[in-house]
C-alpha cells in the first residue's frame, strides 16, 4: 500500500493511493498561486500596466525586459498566466483506475490529468461538485480567453536564467512544468468522464475495494472518502468543516476505525475565526459605503459568497444600506445563483425544510427579486448602463490577475474612499496587490476559511482514532510566520507521517486476509474440533470460485462416475482421486490405551 504525493499544496491536494490492485487518485487540485508571478490581464488596455519598465539584470543586461516587468520593486512575468500542475512523472497516470473528487476547488487540474496523460478510468464526484466545478472552470477559461495575450514568455524559465532572478521568481518550483489554462473543449471532455455519486453510496471498484463519499460540511456536495476492503480502511479527509453554514453537516462517525487517515485541506488561516471575520467584513463594508466609497470583494463565484449574501440580507436594512446596489459580476454569476437553489438535498436541515414549503433555500432569491442584488456576466453590456456608485461589487478572480476584478482595481485603486475586502484565503493578499502598488484604496483582509482548525482536528482525531495519520508536511510544524505557536500543528499519537511533493510513502500496514464466503452445503460438512475452550478447528477441502474479486468456497466435486455402462466395484478398485483433508493430529498420545487397543486387535 503506497501513497504517491503529486502536489505540495496542503489545501489543493493530489495524491495517488495504490491499494489492493487498484490505483486511486485522491483529488486533482490545481495550484494557482503560480499566477501571482504574472502581470494582471486587464479587460481594457491599461496604460499603467503597459508602461511598466522592463526588468534588467544587475549588470544592466536587458535581454529579459520583454518578458519581465517591474512594479514597485516587484518583478512580474508579462505573459499569459500559467498554473502549477500536479507532478505527472512520479507515477504513470494512465494506470490510474479512478479519481475521487472531494470538492469543487480540488478538481481544477482535472482536464490536465484526464486529457493529457492517457487516463482511461472513471472520475467520481457528487452532482453539486461537478456543476459548481464546471462553473469555476468555465469562469477561469472565460477570464483568460477573453483577453488574448500574444506573448507567452519562456526565456525566464531557463534554469540558468531563473537563478539570476529576484525572489519569489527565483524560488518558484518546477517552472518548466507550468502550463497555460485549458480550453472549454478540454473541460467538457474531462467532465464527461465523471460519474455522479451520492453521500454514503457504496461504490465497488472491481469488487476489490469499496469507496464511499461522506458529507464533509465544507461546501455544496463536498465529501470525504472512505476507501475500504473487508479488512482494511483508509479515510481521506479533505476540506471539512464543523461550522454550520449552508452545506449538510460533516459525517464524522463513519471515519471511525480507520487504519490510515489521510488528512488534507485544513484551514489556511488557523488564527482567524470565520464568524468574527464575517462581522468585520460587514462593518468595513458599511463604513466605506456610508463614506461614499465603493467596496470591491474579489471572490469565487460560488461558496462563501452565498453565506456573505445571506449575512448582508440580514444586515443591510439594519445598517441602512438598502439603497446601495450590490453587483455580482461573473460569466457564471447567474448560473451559480440559480444552481445554489436546486441542490436542496445537499443543504443543511434548515434550508432543506424551506424547499418542502416550497420556497427557495437561499435568501439571495429575494435580494434579486427586490433588485438589491444584480448580476451580470461581465462589466461590458448591461452593467455599464446600470452602474451606480457607491456600490458593492463581488467579482473574480481572487488572485487579482484576471477577471473583471482587474478593471475595478485599476478604476478604484487611486481613491482612499474605496475599499477592497479580501475574503478568499487562497492567495496572500499582499502578493495579490503587488502589481497594483502604489495604491490609495483601503485594503481589508478578512479571510473566511471555514475548514477545520487544529483544535477541531485534534478533537476529531481523538474521536475517530485512526491507527495512523498521514498529512502534508506543513501540518507537522507551526506555520513559518508563527514558529512559536506549537498549537498550530497536528498533535497525535503515533506522530503523523508527513509527505511533500513528489514523495512516495509506504503506508504502514499489510493486508493479510480476504473475505471468503462458505456455501451452506460445505459448512454443513465441516467437522469442528474444540481444541481449546472457545476455539475450534476444522480442516477444509473445498473448491475456490473467484468472480469479480469475490471468493466463494464450494464443496469439492464428488468423484465422477466412470463413463460407460459397466459399474465398477466400489472400494479399493477405485483410484481415490480427490483428497479430503484428514483431521489434524496433535495433542497428547495416550500410549497405554493405544497398546491395549493393539493387543485386543484380532490379528495379533
Amino acid at each position: 500500500m503506497k501513497l504517491y504525493c503529486l502536489s505540495g499544496h496542503p489545501t489543493l491536494p493530489c495524491n495517488v493511493l495504490k491499494f489492493k490492485s487498484t490505483t486511486i487518485m485522491l483529488d486533482c487540485g490545481l495550484d494557482m498561486t503560480s499566477t501571482l508571478n504574472f502581470l494582471p490581464l486587464p479587460l481594457v488596455q491599461s496604460p499603467r500596466l503597459s508602461n511598466l519598465p522592463g526588468w534588467s539584470l544587475k549588470d544592466g543586461n536587458a535581454f529579459l525586459d520583454k518578458e519581465l516587468k517591474e512594479c514597485s520593486g516587484h518583478v512580474f512575468v508579462d505573459s499569459v498566466p500559467e498554473f502549477c500542475l500536479p507532478e505527472t512523472e512520479l507515477i504513470d497516470l494512465s494506470t490510474v483506475d479512478v479519481i475521487l473528487i472531494s470538492n469543487y476547488h480540488c478538481m481544477m487540474a482535472l482536464p490536465y490529468i484526464t486529457e493529457h496523460t492517457g487516463f482511461t478510468g472513471t472520475v467520481y464526484a457528487t452532482e453539486p461538485t461537478v456543476q459548481i466545478g464546471r462553473l469555476l472552470m468555465e469562469e477561469l477559461v472565460n477570464f483568460i480567453e477573453r483577453v488574448p495575450k500574444a506573448q507567452s514568455a519562456s526565456l525566464w524559465k531557463n534554469k540558468d536564467i531563473q537563478r539570476l532572478l529576484p525572489s519569489p521568481l527565483k524560488d518558484a518550483v518546477e517552472v518548466s512544468t507550468w502550463r497555460r489554462c485549458y480550453t472549454m473543449q478540454e473541460v467538457n471532455s474531462a467532465l464527461s468522464k465523471i460519474q455522479l455519486v451520492g453521500y454514503s453510496q457504496k461504490i465497488e471498484l472491481f469488487g476489490a475495494v469499496q469507496v464511499t463519499p461522506l458529507s464533509s460540511g465544507y461546501a455544496l456536495g463536498s465529501s470525504n472518502w472512505i476507501i475500504q476492503s473487508h479488512y482494511e480502511k483508509v479515510s481521506y479527509v479533505s476540506g471539512s468543516s464543523l461550522l454550520t453554514t449552508h452545506p449538510q453537516p460533516m459525517d464524522q462517525a463513519s471515519l471511525k476505525n480507520s487504519d490510515v487517515l489521510v488528512l488534507t485541506g485544513l484551514t489556511q488561516i488557523p488564527t482567524a475565526n470565520p464568524d468574527g471575520m464575517v462581522g468585520e467584513f460587514c462593518s468595513n463594508l458599511a463604513l466605506t459605503v456610508r463614506n461614499g466609497g465603493n467596496v470591491l470583494v474579489p471572490c469565487y463565484p460560488s461558496g462563501v459568497i452565498y453565506d456573505l449574501l445571506e449575512c448582508l440580507y440580514q444586515y443591510i436594512d439594519s445598517a441602512g444600506l438598502s439603497n446601495i446596489p450590490f453587483y455580482f459580476i461573473s460569466p457564471v454569476a447567474n448560473s451559480s445563483l440559480e444552481f445554489s437553489q436546486i441542490f436542496a438535498e445537499w443543504l443543511c436541515h434548515n434550508k432543506q425544510t424551506k424547499v418542502y414549503l416550497p420556497e427557495p433555500p437561499f435568501p439571495h432569491a429575494e435580494l434579486i427579486q427586490t433588485n438589491k442584488l444584480k448580476h451580470y456576466p461581465s462589466l461590458h453590456g448591461d452593467f455599464s448602463s446600470d452602474f451606480r456608485q457607491p456600490c458593492v461589487v463581488f467579482t473574480g478572480h481572487p488572485s487579482l490577475r484576471f477577471g473583471d476584478v482587474v478593471h475595478f482595481m485599476e478604476l478604484w485603486g487611486k481613491s482612499s474612499l474605496n475599499t477592497v475586502i479580501f475574503t478568499e484565503p487562497d492567495f496572500s493578499y499582499l502578493e495579490a496587490l503587488a502589481p497594483y502598488q502604489p495604491l490609495a484604496m483601503k485594503c481589508i483582509y478578512c479571510p473566511i476559511d471555514t475548514r477545520l482548525n487544529f483544535i477541531q482536528v485534534s478533537k476529531l482525531l481523538k474521536e475517530v482514532q485512526p491507527l495512523h495519520v498521514v498529512c502534508p508536511e506543513q501540518y507537522t510544524q507551526p506555520p513559518p510566520a508563527q514558529s512559536h505557536r506549537m498549537d498550530l500543528m497536528i498533535d497525535c499519537q503515533p506522530p503523523a507521517m508527513s509527505y511533500r511533493r513528489a514523495e512516495v510513502l509506504a503506508l504502514p500496514f499489510k493486508r493479510r486476509y480476504e473475505k471468503i464466503e462458505i456455501m451452506p452445503e460445505l459448512a454443513d460438512s465441516l467437522v469442528p474440533m474444540e481444541i481449546k475452550p472457545g476455539i475450534s478447528l476444522a480442516t477444509v477441502s473445498a473448491v475456490l470460485h473467484t468472480k469479480d474479486n469475490k471468493h466463494v468456497l464450494q464443496p469439492p466435486p464428488r468423484p465422477a462416475q466412470p463413463a460407460g455402462g459397466k459399474k465398477r466395484k466400489r472400494g479399493s478398485d477405485d483410484i481415490p482421486d480427490c483428497k479430503v483433508l484428514k483431521p489434524l493430529l496433535s495433542g497428547s498420545i495416550p500410549v497405554e490405551q493405544f497398546v491395549q487397543a493393539l493387543e485386543k486387535a484380532p490379528d495379533h
Binding site: 451520492g198 418542502y356 472457545g534 480442516t539 477444509v540 479399493s572 483410484i575
Partner: protein, 564 residues
C-alpha cells in the same frame, strides 16, 4: 440458501393498492403502502392485519419504503402508521417526502369533505405520519440497522420516483416501484447498475405492449387537441396534479407557442403553481435537457397555461382543461366531465391507465351510458380518446432493466395476470445463466473458529498459532513380489506399471532408485532368503491414507507380465 419470502398485500396481479411484504435474512420490509382507486370500502387499503395477527407492526417490520408519491403507492400510509399503528422508519426520496403529504391531504379532502366518509385519517395524522419519514438520496446506501441496508436508484416515472435495493448480508432484492426506461419531456430514464440481486420485483403495467415512439404519440396527441379546439370544442384532460400533467403542459405550451394558438389552456386546482415550484426546486430530478437549460429558461414557468376557475367550464368557445384526478373517479375532473359529456364537439383525453371501477375505465372500455349517483344516467357523446402517456416501462423496457440488473430471479407485480404470463415466458427465453469465467481451484486449509470470528489459514499456521505440535503419522507396509530381476529393474517395472495405472497422479522415478506417487514412497529391496522374490517397502502419511492403501492392494496383485 436462506429464503426470501415475498407477500403482496396488494397489486400482486392487479394495479392499485401497491403493498408488498418482503422477508429477507430475518428482516421484514414493507414496500409501498398504496390505496386502490376502484374501491370505496375496506378493500381500498391493503389488509395489514395479515402482517401480524396480534402484536405491533413496529415490532415486526424493520422499515417501510415508499417508491413514489402516487396514491396507489402511498395513499394508505397515514392509515397504516397512525390508525393501525406503526412507529418505525419510513424511507422515501426528498421530492416524494415534499409532495406526498400534499397529495394525501388532497385525497383526504375528496374522501371526507366531498364524499363525507367517516373513520378516515385526519390532517394531523398525515403530519404525524410524515414525521416518521427519513429522506434518502439517490444511490445513498442507508444502513437501516447493522444488517439491513437500502439504496435508491432513479426510476423516472414521476418526480422523485425511485427503485430500491434491499440488502441483508449477501442477499438482496430490488423493487422497482413504477418506472420508465425512456426519457420523456421532463424526466430521465430509469437506471440501475449490475447489482445482481437474488430477486427483482418489477412492475409490469405494460407487460405486453411495445409502444411506438414517443414522438408519434406526442404528435397524435397534439393533432387531436388541435382538431378539437379548431372546431370549437372543449378538451378535458384528466391528470394527476404532478407527473404527466407537467409533461403534457410542456408539450402544449411549446405547441401553442409555435402555432400561435389563442384558445385558453387551464389547469385546475390551486396545486399547479405549487407543483411547478416543486419541479423548479427539484430540477436535479428531471431529465438532462431541462437540467442543462434551466438557468436560461425554466421549463416549468408556463406562459399560456392559467389557473382554472369552476365558472370557466360554462364559458363559450374552445378551451383545454387539465383537471384532477386522472381516473375521473371524483373531484373536479369528474364534475367537468359531467358538464361536457353531452356535446359531441367536446373531447376527453385519458393520458394514463385507469383502474377498474372508475369512470375513466368505464368510458375507455366503450361504455357510453353511465349510471351516476342518484340513479341518473349520463350519456357520453363527447369523443373519448386514450393516449398512453403514463410513464411505465413497456415490455422492451422491462427486459432492458432485467438485463441491466442481472437478477437471479424475477417477480412480476403491478400488472394483469394474463399479460404477466406472456412477459414471464419472454424473460425466461431471453435470459439464461452465463458460465463462470474463471477456473475454480481446489483449496485445503484449516478453519479457526473463535466466538463468531472465522479464519481460514494453512494447517501449519493453525497449529502454530494454537501452540500445538503436529504428529506425523506414517504407515509402512511390505509387499512381496515374485521377481528374480535386480532391484533397480523391479523398481523400474513398478514405476512403469504405476505410471500407466495412475494417469492423474504424479508418479516419479528418483535417481536413488525409489519410486514416489505424490508423497508415497516405494523402495524395492532384495529378499534376505529368496533371490526370486523382491520386497517392496511402501510408506505413506496419514493424509495419503486412501491412496496408500490403494497402492498396496494394487501392488499385492503383482505386476503385469511383459512389463519391463
Amino acid at each position: 440458501m436462506p429464503e426470501i419470502r415475498v407477500t403482496p398485500l396488494g397489486a400482486g396481479q392487479d394495479v392499485g393498492r401497491s403493498c408488498i411484504l418482503v422477508s429477507i435474512g430475518g428482516k421484514n420490509v414493507m414496500l409501498d403502502c398504496g390505496m386502490h382507486m376502484g374501491f370505496n370500502d375496506d378493500r381500498r387499503f391493503p389488509d395489514f392485519s395479515y402482517i401480524t395477527r396480534n402484536g405491533r407492526l413496529t415490532d415486526f417490520l424493520d422499515c417501510v419504503i415508499i417508491s413514489h408519491f402516487h396514491l396507489d403507492h402511498c395513499g394508505a400510509l397515514p392509515y397504516f402508521s397512525e390508525m393501525v399503528g406503526y412507529d418505525g422508519p419510513i424511507y422515501m426520496t426528498h421530492p416524494t417526502q415534499a409532495i406526498c403529504p400534499i397529495l394525501l391531504e388532497d385525497y383526504r379532502k375528496i374522501a371526507v369533505d366531498k364524499k363525507g366518509e367517516a373513520n378516515f385519517f385526519t390532517s394531523q395524522m398525515i403530519k404525524d405520519c410524515m414525521k416518521k419519514v427519513v429522506a434518502v438520496h439517490l444511490h445513498q446506501t442507508v444502513q437501516v440497522d447493522d444488517e439491513l441496508e437500502i439504496k435508491a436508484y432513479y426510476a423516472g416515472h414521476v418526480l422523485g420516483a425511485a427503485m430500491f435495493q434491499i440488502k441483508v448480508g449477501s442477499e438482496s432484492v430490488v423493487y422497482t416501484g413504477d418506472y420508465n426506461m425512456t426519457p420523456d419531456r421532463h424526466l430521465g430514464a430509469a437506471w440501475i447498475d449490475k447489482c445482481r440481486p437474488n430477486l427483482l420485483i418489477t412492475e409490469s403495467t405494460y407487460a405486453t405492449t411495445i409502444r411506438d415512439s414517443k414522438r408519434c404519440r406526442e404528435r397524435d396527441f397534439l393533432k387531436k387537441v388541435h382538431e378539437a379546439v379548431e372546431r370549437g370544442g372543449k378538451v378535458l384532460i384528466p391528470v394527476f396534479a404532478l407527473g404527466r400533467a407537467q409533461e403534457l403542459c410542456i408539450l402544449l405550451e411549446t405547441f401553442w407557442e409555435r402555432m400561435n394558438l389563442k384558445a385558453p389552456i387551464y389547469f385546475s386546482t390551486g396545486l399547479t403553481e405549487k407543483a411547478n415550484h416543486y419541479y423548479k426546486l427539484f430540477i436535479t430530478w428531471t431529465n438532462q435537457k431541462i437540467r442543462k437549460t434551466f438557468v436560461q429558461r425554466n421549463m416549468f414557468e408556463f406562459k399560456h397555461i392559467k389557473a382554472f376557475d369552476r365558472a370557466f367550464a360554462d364559458n363559450p368557445g374552445p378551451m383545454v382543461v387539465f383537471a384532477t384526478p386522472g381516473m375521473l373517479h371524483a373531484g373536479q375532473s369528474l364534475q367537468i366531465f359531467r358538464k361536457w359529456a353531452g356535446n359531441e364537439k367536446n373531447m376527453v383525453i385519458m393520458p394514463g391507465y385507469c383502474v377498474q371501477g372508475t369512470v375513466g375505465h368505464k368510458i375507455l372500455s366503450g361504455q357510453r351510458k353511465l349510471e351516476m349517483e342518484g340513479r341518473q344516467v349520463l350519456e357520453v357523446k363527447m369523443q373519448v380518446e386514450y393516449m398512453s402517456f403514463s410513464a411505465h416501462a413497456d415490455a422492451k423496457g422491462i427486459m432492458q432493466l432485467v438485463g441491466q440488473a442481472e437478477p437471479e430471479n424475477v417477480l412480476l407485480v403491478h400488472g394483469e395476470a394474463k399479460k404477466m404470463e406472456f412477459l414471464k415466458q419472454k424473460i425466461e427465453q431471453e435470459f439464461r445463466l452465463l458460465p463462470d469465467a474463471k477456473k475454480p481451484r481446489l483449496l485445503h486449509g484449516t478453519l479457526i473458529m473463535k466466538d463468531s470470528n472465522f479464519r481460514l489459514v494453512s494447517s501449519e499456521q493453525a497449529l502454530k498459532e494454537l501452540g500445538l505440535a503436529e504428529h506425523q503419522l506414517r504407515f509402512t507396509c511390505r509387499v512381496h513380489l515374485h521377481d528374480p530381476r535386480k532391484e533397480q529393474e523391479t523398481a523400474l517395472r513398478v514405476y512403469s506399471h504405476l505410471k500407466s495405472v495412475l494417469k492423474d497422479h504424479c508418479v516419479q522415478h528418483l535417481p536413488d532408485g525409489s519410486v514416489t506417487v505424490e508423497s508415497i514412497l516405494i523402495q524395492a529391496a532384495a529378499h534376505s532368503e529368496d533371490p526370486g522374490t523382491k520386497v517392496l517397502l511402501v510408506s505413506w502419511t496419514y493424509q495419503d491414507e486412501e491412496l496408500g492403501s490403494y497402492l498396496t492392494s494394487l501392488l499385492k496383485k503383482g505386476l503385469p507380465q511383459g512389463a519391463t
